[in-house]
Symmetry: C2
Subunit: 465 residues, 2 copies
Amino acid sequence: MATERLVIVGGDATGMAAASQARRLRKPDELAITAFERGHYTSYSACGIPYWVGGEVDGPDALIARTAQEHRARDIDLRLRREVTELDLDRGRVLTRELDDGGRESWTGFDKLVLATGARPRRPDLPGIDAPGVHGVQTLDDGRALLDTLDASPGRRAVVVGAGYIGVEMAEALIRRGYEVTVLEQSAQPMSTLDPDMGALVHEAMCAMGIETVRGATVTGVLTGEGSAPGGGRARAVTTKDAEYPADVVVLGLGVRPETTLAAAAGLPLGASGGLLTDLAMRVRGHDHIWAGGDCVEVRDLVSGQLRHVALGTHANKHGQVIGANVGGGYATFPGVVGTAVSKVCDLEIARTGLLEREARAAGLRFVTVTVEATNRAGYYPGARPMHVKMLAERRTGRLLGVQIVGREGAGKRVDVAAVALTAGMTVEQMTALDLGYAPPFSPVWDPVLVAARKATAAVRDAGA
Amino acid sequence: MATERLVIVGGDATGMAAASQARRLRKPDELAITAFERGHYTSYSACGIPYWVGGEVDGPDALIARTAQEHRARDIDLRLRREVTELDLDRGRVLTRELDDGGRESWTGFDKLVLATGARPRRPDLPGIDAPGVHGVQTLDDGRALLDTLDASPGRRAVVVGAGYIGVEMAEALIRRGYEVTVLEQSAQPMSTLDPDMGALVHEAMCAMGIETVRGATVTGVLTGEGSAPGGGRARAVTTKDAEYPADVVVLGLGVRPETTLAAAAGLPLGASGGLLTDLAMRVRGHDHIWAGGDCVEVRDLVSGQLRHVALGTHANKHGQVIGANVGGGYATFPGVVGTAVSKVCDLEIARTGLLEREARAAGLRFVTVTVEATNRAGYYPGARPMHVKMLAERRTGRLLGVQIVGREGAGKRVDVAAVALTAGMTVEQMTALDLGYAPPFSPVWDPVLVAARKATAAVRDAGA
């Protein structure tokens, strides 16, 4: 039997997990695996970058789960700094360009193709946005560039644009490095991945931490100083419609969009967010020999039934695993997500799963909401701290639709209980009987999630039909 | 309409939660509520006693969720230090005795009766077991008596008999008070609520904390010193078949059994463990006007389908809520438990849910087991510590049967994910796709529970039919 040729575009979580899993199932004489990565690093935790920048983690090596050498030792032909510039699906080949070697181009043929091209940060088209001193934090290369700026910068003022997950994590990182941090957020509240009432709790806590958090701030540009570099000098301030915020460094935390330029050019099917569309086995729709996963695809939201784009390392790894199993002749599927996310800024833990109010409305659902304040541990136990749990339940059926949590230590991961309940399609009344772990150092006798479920059960009943 | 009379026997979690919930639904002129409690306290967290003894919590007031005065202010006629000594079901009345007032006896009539008599600690019939200096820790009165002994004792050596939840929590409490602690456990490993291989991890950790933990130790008696008190002096050592362990104080942590003496005398139906048998509404089987809940009943194990006795404050509170709703004319049920429990000894977190190996075998199940070692956080994140997850899955179906966890901070409450999955009847393969919260401070990119689920999925497949 001829050796099959598998080509992987993108050498981070999805691509290399797929490569590793496929290699476990198929020997090199059965399946030749070639992976192209345009960056310097592979199989790394981009989610760890804020902690590297904040000095909590030594980087970049600690963030690399498996090095290029380790992959190569397992008979995976991994090419770093080699960018794929074209997919020729008709002839089953990809065009690549050497980034460090004079731009030499060549074609590589494939029998099976995995697209793991990830996402690219949103970077609004504003004056000065590309000036030195303005940084994204999407890749290890980005992290290294930001650290170089911080090390070289004499100043101590940082502006973070965007108060989503990356924004708040970078705010914490810069606070740790001794910066005065201002976070500019266009929405009415930080963390627009939460409902505004829960985002307001985050705003309050961030202010108490000394992080200036400006809401409703529409960034209009980046001012640069006098400089000798061609095209102008370094960033020195961020401007909004109303004000000017001095900045020795600017970090963009505006989220990401799927990186599917290649896929689009090749005519592969994309969804509303620009992400690739796949089946449950992560095979690109209509293409038997092409798989895609990670930050470049759309996934099914199991609560709303809609497709959405969720860029998250844990999904990317699962996708890689599923793709590798299927490419390798096994069988696995990725049924979808329920929209779980957890983050922290200093000691504040922020979590969500399922649908926000606006998402539930957009899905055509009618629902009730409740919010409870409880404590992470028994109220009398040392370290007991307040935590807020918001819960959405469908009217009439009482089906759980979503949970949001803002609290301190031990609050965030409680969202997992709701994530499993969502996956199982439980009602909030069923949840009230859940047998969750109880002991005073871990929980009040009624876990905060159960308190919310009880209140939501009553709200469903009161709301009637 | 005549006022109905509700009598409650036992004024702790179940009894007073039932009283409060019933009062919410029915006014005093509809329902008169009388509750009898033989102790000095009501509605308290017995689970908090080890932390009170350890000095982490001010007691006993902090452990009392609602005082007698607060209950009385809500038109609940609560009588403390009044012991119910007989149930006369034919005539619908209970006999009570004043404990502080010369033992005066009287009858009180009821239309509806709630039995919330709790549990009593196991106290083996051994020489010296009732000597001064030997303490149980079941009630606030017990806690107060132990603290009096500790305050009066000049010595610094403590022996804890039994290495279950209470035993390990009391070991921590006594270590905190500066005692040299020896824990004597009859089983091959501490925490016989875990499988022996997981118990061995607890043993290892306890030894590293300086807690001498003797396994396979059959206690034969308590030696007492010379003393002036009638019947002999204070405890001075605990003896086993093989050795003698000096002790200035002895704490019994041998678990509890249902306190159903009254119910048995009245001919109410009891299960194999001695607990009362109820229906899903917590009504005593065959008795329309009698409810029972908390530590004195047996509950349905939703995984094995068997009845079992589980003494735990969180169930007791849920039972009280359900009973109060039904007594008050509403509707609620308690479907059962999956056997979740969590505890800690110093910084070691110990949790379980579902079935142990021996329990699964006793239920007639065939299963596979896997154990994984992972970390509570991303491996590179500060404070990442190893944690062990053991998982049992049914052969052929792959249904999750149980999870045990031993680890450090953030490990224990992860058992909740498995508790919900058990309730939902998930397979381990379904669990591999769970959308659990991920960020480096909270979890590796594969949550340890998911790592175990992946390994269990493979084990189910490999085991075949």
